[in-house]
């Protein structure tokens, strides 16, 4: 781990050596974010912080800064402000980080962002003035040297944030992914949150390979709320294969259990059967610092999923 102080609760807990959990909130095309606030309230007890996504899949959604702020203010749950370099040049990135620091945001996850061609405004001009590595560099300048990327000083106050980066355990060729992560860690990342993993052996290998950088890793897991989501993941999320048994079991529930309540119980059981031993194994036999649990709209799973790890 680098020399930067732990500014966020997330970073502080990581530094104590505690196995940590983060959650995820996904604000969409909304002005009223009460749904996000409710989700944050539901996960607050179980996670140290929640990521707030920034236009995933290139979609035109509410900017993640205000939801990140409101979740901290109204719910008291620390947030990880996700920022893509897709929509902002170095001036806007700098300005948004100042704004985030001004309202007490302590974590930023520096992302490239899915290309706008994938989203619902496909003709938009993607920015990519900086890439995510250069953004991590800019964040280092702001946090460690109190300047912008050109060395112009921040006049009042300090940016006190910890910097997260993403890594993809499903990437192939893997060496390119590992070297890329190393480049970002060298530039100033504090922790890594990975994309979703379903294959335990693969996940363990990936963590082992990343461990050489001595940068805390939170492995991404995505509990599957229903068969539709599982099937979508399996078919459309690049590099992700949902294990056959998991898919089969969820499909069986969809087909054969009509009662909604009963169906929920069964789906939770299937998820717990798969993910509890998964987390147990990651905790026991890898250097991972924790789990990034992307149970979006599936907060009821947090209690049974995480109770033995708290």
């Amino acid at each position: 781990m680098g020399d930067r102080p732990a500014f966020s609760n997330l970073m502080k807990e990581i530094k104590t050596g505690k196995f940590v959990f983060t959650g995820e909130l996904e604000p969409t095309k909304m002005v009223d974010i009460s749904e996000i606030i409710h989700s944050a309230e539901a996960m607050k007890e179980y996670v140290v912080a929640a990521n707030v996504t920034d236009g995933p899949q290139g979609m035109a959604y509410i900017n993640s800064l205000i939801p990140s702020y409101l979740v901290q203010e109204k719910v008291g749950l620390e947030t990880v402000y996700q920022m893509t370099v897709r929509d902002r040049n170095r001036i806007a990135l700098f300005g948004d980080i100042l704004a985030a620091a001004c309202v007490g945001i302590k974590n930023v996850l520096a992302l490239t962002g899915d290309h706008s061609a994938l989203g619902d405004n496909p003709g938009a001009k993607s920015v990519y003035d900086l890439d995510s590595t250069q953004f991590v560099y800019l964040l280092g300048k702001m946090i460690d040297e109190n300047t912008d990327i050109y060395g112009n000083e921040i006049e009042t106050g300090k940016v006190e944030m910890n910097v997260g980066i993403a890594a993809n355990p499903n990437a192939s060729p893997r060496e390119a992914e590992i070297l890329k992560v190393g480049r970002k860690v060298a530039v100033g990342a504090d922790y890594i949150q990975t994309q979703t993993a379903f294959d335990i052996d693969d996940a363990k290998d990936f963590i082992k390979e990343l461990s050489r950088y001595n940068c805390p890793i939170l492995l991404g897991l995505f509990p599957l709320k229903n068969y539709g989501i599982a099937s979508y993941f399996d078919k459309f999320i690049p590099g992700v294969s949902v294990p056959e048994d998991l898919l089969k079991n969820l499909k069986h529930v969809k087909k054969n259990i009509k009662d909604k309540k009963e169906r929920k119980v069964k789906i939770d059981e299937i998820n717990l059967e798969f993910f509890v031993p998964f987390i147990r194994e990651i905790k026991k036999s890898t250097a991972a610092a924790g789990i990034h649990c992307m149970a979006v709209h599936y907060e009821r799973l947090f209690e049974p999923l995480l109770k033995e790890f708290r």
Partner: protein
């Protein structure tokens, strides 16, 4: 070479709608290779103009419309009687070709409009006729020495300096449904092949985009 493609004739017709007497000028270099100003394409354009009710007063190849010096020479062949009649010019060339012609028009005091018949895509490799790959974005600060000779600006859909991003799968790019190669995996493989993966792991700093393309002239004497 500069690769071009033909505009839909409807768009050209719309641009020319207020003008009847047209002079057609066409590039004798890159746009010929792009099969946009070769003999067949020129004949097709003449036919389209005729069918649209236009009177083509004259047509001529300009060897390299983007070269002002060459344009001065080629202009000598344009007959005065055609210039007396013409309402508007149509050129089959890249954007630089048309704009060099504007300088020529200023020199010759021609106050008539000129329209373009092609779309310009960029500085490209010709694999074969009909198959071109844009390889250079003309950034003005070439990174090829650090990337195994493969340009990340043109080969990466996001133009990243430090890729790959999370949008690549088995070396294919998320843009275009994983059909095109991820530029950064090409760079990784190339650097690996030449034993220079050390370059892959290095940070390439923020680029100076301010010097790219806008209001730019290269003047060295």
């Amino acid at each position: 070479m500069i690769v071009t493609t033909k505009k839909d004739f409807e768009e050209i017709e719309d641009a020319l709608k207020s003008y009847n007497n047209i002079m057609l000028i066409y590039c004798g270099t890159c746009s010929v290779t792009s099969q946009c100003s070769d003999e067949k394409s020129v004949n097709e354009m003449l036919e389209n103009l005729k069918n649209a009710g236009k009177n083509v007063v004259y047509h001529q190849e300009f060897k390299e419309p983007c070269d002002f010096r060459q344009d001065l020479q080629d202009w000598r062949n344009v007959p005065q009687e055609a210039l007396d009649k013409v309402d508007a010019f149509l050129i089959l060339s890249c954007g630089a070709g048309l704009q060099a012609m504007l300088d020529l028009f200023d020199r010759k005091n021609i106050a008539k409009p000129i329209f373009i018949g092609l779309n310009t895509h960029g500085i490209a490799e010709t694999e074969r006729i009909g198959r071109f790959h844009v390889k250079c974005a003309g950034c003005g600060d070439c990174l090829l020495n650090y990337t195994g000779g493969i340009c990340p600006v043109t080969s990466c859909a996001k133009g990243l300096m430090n890729g790959p991003c999370g949008g690549q799968l088995d070396g294919k790019c998320e843009v275009g449904k994983y059909e095109k190669d991820c530029g950064w995996i090409l760079i990784y493989e190339r650097l690996k092949k030449i034993g220079r993966l050390d370059l892959f792991g290095q940070l390439r700093p923020a680029f100076n985009w301010a010097d790219r393309g806008h209001q730019k002239s290269v003047v060295f004497r």
